[in-house]
Amino acid sequence: MDKVKVVVGLGSCGIAAGAGKVYQRLLEINEAEGGLFELGKTSCIGMCYKEPLVEVTDGTGTYLYGEINDKRAEEIIEKHVKNNQVVTELVEYSDKIGGKEQDFVDNQVKIVLRNCGKMDPESIDEYEKRDGYKSIKKILENNISEDDVIKTVLDSGIRGRGGGGFPTGMKWKFARGYKSDEKYVICNADEGDPGAFMDRSVLEGDPHSVIEGMIIAAYAINATGGVIYCRAEYPLAVKRLNLALEQARKRNYLGKNILGKEGFNFDLYVKEGAGAFVCGEETALIASVEGKRGMPNKRPPFPAEAGLWGKPTNINNVETYANIAWIILHGAADYAKYGTEKSKGTKVFALAGKIRNSGLVEVPMGITINDIIFKLGGGIKEGKKFKAVQMGGPSGGCIPAELGDTIVDYDSVNATGAIMGSGGMVVMDETTCMVDVARFFLNFTQKESCGKCTFCRIGTKRMLEILERITEGKGEEGDIEKLQELAAQIKDSSLCGLGQTAPNPVLTTIKYFRHEYEAHIKDRKCPAKSCKQLITYMINEKCIGCTVCARVCPTKAISGERKQPHLIDQDRCIKCGACYDACKFSSIDKL
């Protein structure tokens, strides 16, 4: 019988949750037991909320164990590996016996994430075993022409997964159309939207699929060189990419006369960013690759005509490239089977915020927001009420719970005022203040504005000041209208996507949560009880006079005799909430 296989998920999330220690412990056990089982590594499995994860594969099936620590690892080895007793209470998912998280797994369709969490990302052999590099071989062995490759991509209907949703095949067609002795392909791995981490997971979990996608793009547009522009904040992704590139070069997937195809020369390297959100914009990204300040340039000319070093360049993001090899291998029709009329295929979403199952999911386009949040995401944490979901990061907007039946495809999401973006979904509950969320995003875009366009540079600053005023309880009549007016001007007068979309979080929250803005301005109240300056703490009749609150109060604002109800001096209260957290008798109200 084959040895039992034990695999640990070692993506960034897993490592942060302690998976490195679990792996070490398993290594020690295995050594002590003389190689009882086969120990392996993989990357993000997607179930971030159950990290660290360990998967055991024996003769009967696979069993994914969640929330593993040293002790539980020992228990699993002792019971499952040695004595064939599955530790059922720790199983999250199993193809044999189901498990607690079956809904999370069963509702997904994995194309982009086909290999993530299924193989060792540092092994090219494992990638090849899972159909890796078969697509580029298929193209070269069957002499499929460049135009036919582009046609397949066009027919598949895939649109850019970085946010804009421009048809990928069209982009390739344009880049192919321009004649030049040098052409480039660039992979945009500057995943900047806070709350989105799907690109990181793909780069860490399946770097070869991105590289293969880029090789195919290079073939289609006759590119001579390529760059993967990756965030410096993702050190593990950079490391695995560089390793994968080295392996691919050794097997001649990169280099001169690739796989024996005369004249097909292409190589790639990784360029690290240095922390600038605007570099996700393609012209700014190109400037940054060239070693300059990452400031956007006017389009046209589009990069397809004059991009990196002024040469025709094709830019796609990580998720888009990760789809390509699958599309070539399985055909356009198989891909177009999934999705809606205008948005084909699948989309990866990063679920985060007040959601029970935060993690990575891949679903066919056309599924509803409610399905994602409740079926896959397991609903809201601590039984609270679903209020809104933020999609598209700082360029996107908040979709309220009432629109939960909206299906996710580019056009339906755009119609709400949000955008699909790169696929971050940050879920908010009743305790999240929507004005504060708008302030948070504007604070972000204001800081990240490169400063080239006046309206983006100064207009966002003015909007931020108004929002700060509102959340501090100093809002004025007419502030909402001022915000709307500034928003329209910034949208009209900014060169790049950053400025054009920066007001979206404010506009969507005004559209759907205007009453919250009004409550802040007119009643000086924060309905979500989140804005500090607008909260009043009061002691109610349940107070038994235990004096705990008086002791934790940093400003000595609480007075009262022992065993007598206490009182808060509102003038001295700094609204830190220490008393509220300390009270064991729910006798402090937040108003």
Binding site: C13, C48, G195, G291, G353
Partner: protein
């Protein structure tokens, strides 16, 4: 060491780093990454040395250093505390965690403690949203951090 000697030393170190990148001005970002990795930060003298080695005006180097948030002209603490302020971390209470670090270490965001041991800064999303709120100290990542755990975390380094 005299000022002149110190400057000479910086020049030598920097020119070695720049040579690894063929003194190519297009590689300025990579050069600055490496230089910051060596010194921990990028003071004026170092930027001037980079500019001289690569053959561009110092203003160009300064422009890049100030544009990208990864580069810093202030020395960081021995244990840099980075608090993620991505959306997911924010809605999960990252701000409270930041305030707690600030009050425990008695420095504000962006500053370094007097003994040079700790510095605090905030980060854009580091992509570990499933574990929000997230704090990094050096390369070590702490997930699901609660304000009441901050003291224990700091104590690990004292």
């Amino acid at each position: 060491m005299s000022c002149r000697e110190k400057q000479q030393q910086i020049k030598e170190t920097v020119s070695k780093i720049c040579a690894e990148f063929n003194n190519d001005p297009n590689e300025l970002i990579a050069i600055l990454h490496k230089t910051q990795g060596h010194y921990g930060f990028l003071p004026k003298e170092v930027q001037i040395a980079v500019a001289e080695s690569v053959g561009v005006p110092a203003s160009k180097v300064f422009g890049i250093v100030t544009f990208y948030s990864y580069f810093t002209m202030e020395p960081k603490g021995k244990h840099p505390v980075s608090i993620c302020m991505g959306t997911a971390c924010y809605v999960q209470g990252a701000e409270k965690v930041l305030r707690e670090f600030e009050s425990r270490l008695e420095v504000k965001n962006g500053q370094t403690t007097d003994d040079g041991k700790f510095s605090i800064n905030t980060l854009r999303c580091i992509g570990a949203c499933g574990l929000a709120p997230v704090v990094m100290i050096g390369d070590k990542v702490y997930g699901n951090v609660k304000p009441e755990e901050v003291n224990n975390i700091i104590n690990e380094y004292s």
